[in-house]
């Protein structure tokens, strides 16, 4: 590893440390109860992660997030690809998408709770809705951008319509689809927390907002760190997967956007 590679590896870590330093200084300067210092927040992390109950709560959240994200990908990618290739599907779904797009998905939570209760189904559904939009949109754009001649080349080889969709449009649009999934993954984490903020039953978000109710601000900020760390870990893991899948499309030089 040469110096510049080392620099690239270490810079995200430096950014985190920098942020914590600013936080620490800010908290020390403000001196209010509701804003603990970074060190206090970090000291509260082991008590959360060491607690069996809290850990189960967080795992519950992650399970819902994984199911919501997985289902969304399973539905949204084929839908987006079909929108990109079949004009009738696009003209049918595009207006619907435009209506749903600006609605904050968590704002639907109270209504969904009325229908489906406060349990896993409602929360998973909200995550599903939040994740779907960017994946549909990126899959749509990716499929639309696939060169017609490439599809024709496949058709001349004897690929059927379904095979062309699955074996030409899908791989050709994959870089764009995965860009959508990456956005979707972050949104999954956000909607996961907000859904638990509204349906207060269990989960990572519930720990956070219970602590807030009880004025345990160090726990609140510790949870924020934990959720942030989860976000970074997911993003880095996804980025590794993405690179492995679409190395053929990568430009030679890439900004180091995450740990990888």
């Amino acid at each position: 590893m040469n110096a510049s590679q080392f620099g690239r590896r270490i810079s995200p870590l430096l950014a985190c440390i920098g942020l914590l330093c600013v936080w620490q200084a800010g908290a020390l300067a403000l001196k209010t109860d509701s804003f603990p210092t970074a060190l206090e927040a970090i000291r509260a992390i082991p008590s959360i992660l060491g607690d069996h109950e809290s850990l189960l709560n967080i795992l519950d959240s992650l399970r819902r997030m994984a199911i919501g994200f997985g289902l969304a990908a399973l539905v949204s990618i084929p839908l987006g690809l079909m929108m990109g290739r079949i004009r009738a599907v696009a003209s049918l779904c595009n207006p619907l998408l435009m209506i749903v797009y600006p609605v904050p998905k968590a704002a639907l939570m109270p209504v969904i709770m009325l229908w489906l209760g406060v349990g896993d189904v409602s929360k998973t559904l909200v995550i599903f809705l939040g994740v779907s939009i960017p994946i549909i949109y990126h899959s749509f754009q990716g499929a639309k951008a696939v060169e017609e001649k490439m599809v024709w080349s496949g058709a001349a080889m004897g690929l059927s319509g379904f095979q062309r969709m699955f074996r030409i449009v899908l791989p050709a649009a994959l870089p764009e689809i995965l860009a959508g999934c990456r956005t979707g993954l972050v949104l999954a984490l956000i909607t996961m927390v907000t859904s638990e903020m509204i349906a207060r039953q269990n989960g990572a978000g519930n720990i956070l907002f219970n602590a807030l109710d009880m004025a345990q601000y160090d726990t609140v900020f510790a949870m924020i760190i934990v959720i942030g760390a989860l976000g970074i870990i997911f993003d880095a893991a996804f980025e590794k997967l993405r690179r492995a899948l679409v190395r053929w499309s990568e430009p030679r030089f890439d900004m180091p956007l995450s740990f990888s």
């Binding site: 024709w152 058709a155 030409i168």
Partner: protein, 280 residues
């Protein structure tokens, strides 16, 4: 046109006894495109053309004369508004592996390396991996890309990409090669080299080739027949038989007065086409 029935249910082609059945038969094909503002544009008007098995035929004309559209119709990628196109006597209803396209845009599969691209059609036709790979490696060598099997399209130059595209199409043994300005995006030197190599490859197995270009030299150098088209609407202006000996060598041909005359005559034809547009 009167048709004499030979036996019940069998109709004689008018020319069946005189020459072999045409590989490609284009019969009064017209193509209309809807353009914005509800105006429609007649891209092709009443085109009839017959191409024999093993012939190298170029379609030449100014841009917008519908020459690519005609090729897409034979490919089955575009359905004509009127008329029929046939391959070996059967009406064309869609693309098929008997007609292999090569596009100006290369249209390689970017997620596959060179070997993967060339193997794709063979694998699709159920050829076993080992056999497909062996055949593909031979083809890659034939188009001069030995050693580049594991390269991805984005790592190749334009000329190399087009070589891969040609190998990829030849791999599944189409009876007709449909080449849509295949060398149009290449620089002059690369273009000449690929023309030479294409001729060498073609002279081995003499597939039927339909070759769209706007370069007169290229058309004369490669073809048995040059179809000159007009535009708005696209019509056939003239079909010129290129009676030059084969195998053709560029160095000999450029000095050959017959070659030069063909080029000059066809350039004159195209000039007339453009002149007619200005002063109808």
């Amino acid at each position: 046109m009167s048709v004499v029935p030979l036996r019940p249910g069998v109709q004689a082609e008018p020319s069946a006894h005189a020459k072999p059945v045409a590989m490609i038969e284009i019969d009064r094909v017209s193509q209309m495109f809807e353009t914005s503002g509800r105006r429609s544009h007649l891209a092709l008007s009443d085109i009839s053309l017959s191409i024999e098995d093993g012939a190298f035929v170029s379609i030449l004309g100014p841009s917008g004369c519908g020459k690519s559209t005609l090729l897409y119709i034979v490919g089955g990628f575009v359905m004509p508004t009127a008329g029929v196109a046939k391959v070996k006597g059967r009406a064309i209803t869609g693309p098929g592996p008997d007609r292999g396209p090569v596009f100006q845009e290369f249209a390689l599969f970017p997620w596959k390396n060179v070997l993967g691209n060339v193997m794709y059609g063979l694998r699709q036709q159920g050829v076993k991996r080992a056999e497909a790979e062996a055949q593909s490696r031979r083809l890659i060598e034939m188009v001069g890309l030995k050693g580049y099997e594991s390269f991805y399209p984005k790592e190749l130059s334009g000329g190399m990409k087009q070589r891969v595209a040609i190998a990829r199409t030849l791999a599944y043994h189409p009876e007709v090669l449909l080449m849509d300005e295949p060398f149009g995006a290449l620089d002059a030197h690369t273009r000449t080299r690929l023309q030479n190599d294409l001729l060498n490859i073609w002279e081995r197995d003499r597939k039927t080739v339909l070759f769209v270009t706007h370069s007169v030299d290229e058309a004369v150098f490669l073809s048995d027949k040059v179809v000159v088209m007009t535009r708005s609407p696209g019509r056939i202006k003239e079909i010129v038989d290129i009676d030059l000996p084969r195998p053709r060598r560029r160095a000999d041909l450029l000095l050959d007065p017959h070659y030069q005359k063909y080029v000059v005559d066809i350039e004159k034809l195209i000039d007339d086409v453009l002149e007619d547009e200005l002063h109808p």
